[in-house]
């Protein structure tokens, strides 16, 4: 079959913040740049980001990038690479001011500067007191950011391929990346995008969990494609969770509900936080509450048929107070739990929010992997930025407002590196004869299989397995079982069947292709989590508790290292954390406490 080939200097997969930011660099350098997206760019999940973007502008009070760097290293529980963290924090002012020049409507101070507000974990003077570092545009920061960057791209003649799904990375025998195969949803046509540089900016894969705040689009397509092309995934055991998402939906319930007197109860209606935190009770810190909830569910005191959630009770509060102090919570209960929270408790569960790991990259945005004794050998022609990439700046836990900063800084640096490599002479390399065969075979198998697995059921089995076995608080025995279970789900995911055989707008096929990406991420997460026998940041194990020898369960002697999960043979290797910043003294190891 003859497959059309479209030739570009650069192809970018994903049109969220990182994709749009890198596209600006390439298009403004005069390079012919294509951006592929499953949806219209301003409908990417970056839109959901509200908190702001961190930069030590010092507009409201004294601030310095070294303080921001310290906070980020500490937030990462020392798993973040300090060269990459220095790079990001130092670049923050530049990328925020650029965004302002693109037309981003930041909130302003009375004297016209960018207004900055405080955000959890951001401190002045190396952890001394909170600092105002977050720059926002009302509650639509991500949305405003995408609009500003989309318009800049239109001006720079970036070519958008909207409602296209990238299928597979094309690599030649020497390992160079030569572009991607992609499918136009409107026609079902598969096309080869042949490029000199390929940039992945596909976002996270939060949909691997049953309860996730992520929109349905976050199916880890870039990670799936990288894995199928033999590129390992880094630190996939680290996922950030919020304690209270609506069970079965994932929509967040603000922590303010507990602040106003909300009480967590188990299936016996017991106020269980009294056992875990006798003083703070329901107002204990986020990780303590999440851990208690997970323990109640694990020990069979969860609610519902599957005993997989607990209850958040505010029925004892004055309805007028609820409506006044917690606007929106009544509506969320009705819309997403089918519960009138004035009369009945809300079903809640710790809910996945952000993926710290991803495709391993250098801070220049170049993708790296172990080759011939070099743990960080560059994969020529391949770049990544944003949530799909692991630079690694978030390490074992991300600081709020650093996600928008990540996609700006590393979107830009991936674009800059691609421009640099192309200007240095990187040419189009010959496509392998079978460049599209793998993708066509996958589609054909999905279309023609009889007696295969149902996509919806397989996805649900994966999500439940991940939630039950690799959730916010992890247990050694559950992780072991989880590995077996996810490998079973993987077998089903390799045998998907769809009923609709249409070429045009076949959303069933698209969802099957997404499922093939999700399972790669789920497997990497489960196996990496099972293997890491310590607690660090967001990876907290019951069998790695807080002791005098290992505060918070963190074991730097054995586990101060990055996980690399190889999808080729399901093996795990490790590489050292880079503790050496670019120009300043390292942030020395110490116990992480706030």
């Amino acid at each position: 079959m003859s497959i059309p080939v479209l030739k570009f200097d650069a192809v970018i997969v994903g049109a969220g913040g990182a994709g749009l930011r890198s596209a600006i660099q390439l298009s403004e350098a005069g390079l012919k740049t294509a951006v592929l997206s499953k949806v219209f760019p301003t409908r990417s999940h970056t839109v959901a980001a509200q908190g702001g973007v961190a930069a030590s502008l010092g507009n409201s009070e004294e601030d310095h990038w070294t303080w921001h760097m310290y906070d980020t290293v500490k937030g990462s529980d020392w798993l973040g690479d300090q060269d990459a963290i220095e790079f990001m924090c130092k670049k923050a002012n530049e990328v925020v001011v650029e965004l302002e020049h693109y037309g981003m409507p930041f909130d302003r101070t009375d004297d016209g500067k960018i207004y900055q507000r405080p955000f959890g974990g951001h401190m002045s003077n190396f952890g001394e007191k909170p600092v105002r570092r977050s720059c926002a545009a009302a509650d639509r920061t991500g949305h405003a950011m995408l609009h500003a960057m989309y318009q800049r791209n239109v001006k720079a003649n970036t070519q958008f391929f909207v409602e296209w799904m990238a299928l597979d990375l094309i690599r030649d025998e020497e390992g160079h990346v030569l572009g991607v195969t992609a499918m136009e949803m409107e026609t079902g046509q598969v096309v080869i995008f042949h490029s000199r540089a390929t940039i992945f900016a596909t976002g996270g894969a939060g949909r691997i969990f049953y309860s996730s705040t992520n929109a349905f689009i976050n199916t880890g397509d870039g990670l799936g494609m990288a894995a199928r092309a033999g590129i390992p995934l880094e630190d996939m055991e680290f996922w950030q969770f919020h304690p209270t998402g609506v069970a079965g939906a994932g929509v967040l319930i603000t922590e303010g509900v507990r602040g106003e007197g909300g009480i967590l109860r188990n299936s016996s209606k017991e106020r269980f936080m009294e056992r875990y935190a006798p003083n703070a009770k329901d107002l204990a810190s986020r990780d303590v509450v999440s851990r208690a909830m997970a323990t109640e569910i694990k020990e069979g005191r969860g609610c519902g048929v599957n005993k997989d959630y607990v209850l958040l009770d505010i029925t004892h509060l004055d309805p007028a107070t609820i409506m006044k102090r917690l606007p929106g919570i009544h509506e969320i209960g009705l819309q997403f739990a089918g519960v009138d929270c004035l009369k009945e408790p809300l079903p809640v569960v710790p809910t996945c929010h952000y993926q710290m790991g991803g495709i391993p990259t250098h801070y220049s945005g170049r993708v790296v992997m172990p080759q011939g004794g070099d743990m960080n050998a560059v994969v020529p022609g391949f770049y990544a930025g944003g949530e799909c990439a692991c630079a690694s700046v978030h390490g074992a836990n991300r600081l709020g407002t650093n996600s928008l900063l990540d996609l700006l800084v590393f979107g830009k640096s991936a674009g800059d590196s691609a421009v640099e490599d192309l200007k240095a002479g990187r040419a189009h390399r010959a496509l392998p004869k079978d460049a599209a065969e793998k993708s066509l075979a996958r589609i054909s198998a999905i279309d023609n299989r009889k007696g295969g697995a149902n996509v919806h059921e397989t996805r649900l089995a994966m999500q439940r397995t991940m939630q039950d076995h690799a959730g916010v608080f992890r247990f050694g025995d559950m992780l072991k079982q989880g590995v077996e279970k996810i490998l079973e789900v993987e077998k089903a995911a390799r045998e998907l069947e769809i009923k609709d055989k249409s070429m045009a707008w076949n959303t069933a096929r698209t969802e099957a292709l997404e499922m093939e990406n999700l399972i790669e991420v789920a497997k990497a997460t489960m196996m990496s989590a099972e293997a890491r026998k310590e607690s660090r940041g967001a990876h907290v194990r019951d069998d790695a508790p807080d002791t005098a020898e290992f505060p918070n369960g963190r074991n730097d002697k054995e586990w101060l290292k990055h996980t690399l999960f190889s999808p080729v043979d399901n093996s795990i290797s490790y590489k050292p954390v880079n503790m050496q910043p670019l120009t300043v003294e390292p942030v020395a190891l110490k116990t992480r406490s706030y």
Binding site: A48, V305, A337, S502
Partner: protein
Amino acid sequence: MERQDYERLRWRCIRRALLELDITLTRFLDDGFDQLTEDEQAAFVDLVALEDHDLWYLISGKEECNEDEARFVPVVEKLRKCSVRLAN
């Protein structure tokens, strides 16, 4: 509605920027869209072309349709009523 038009609409409903819309619109397609009149279906197609925050504020009742959006009103009302109850 032709199959292709419906499937295109479906994709634009089930892959939004905001999870709240993914859930609400998926639910409505499964349980409500068929009962719309032809005019209302046409209004729904235009309604879901709104920016995510604007659309969510309308559905969640935080904002009301303005004068230019009068034809959205019956559809928005139906979307607001389409709530879910947990299976268990």
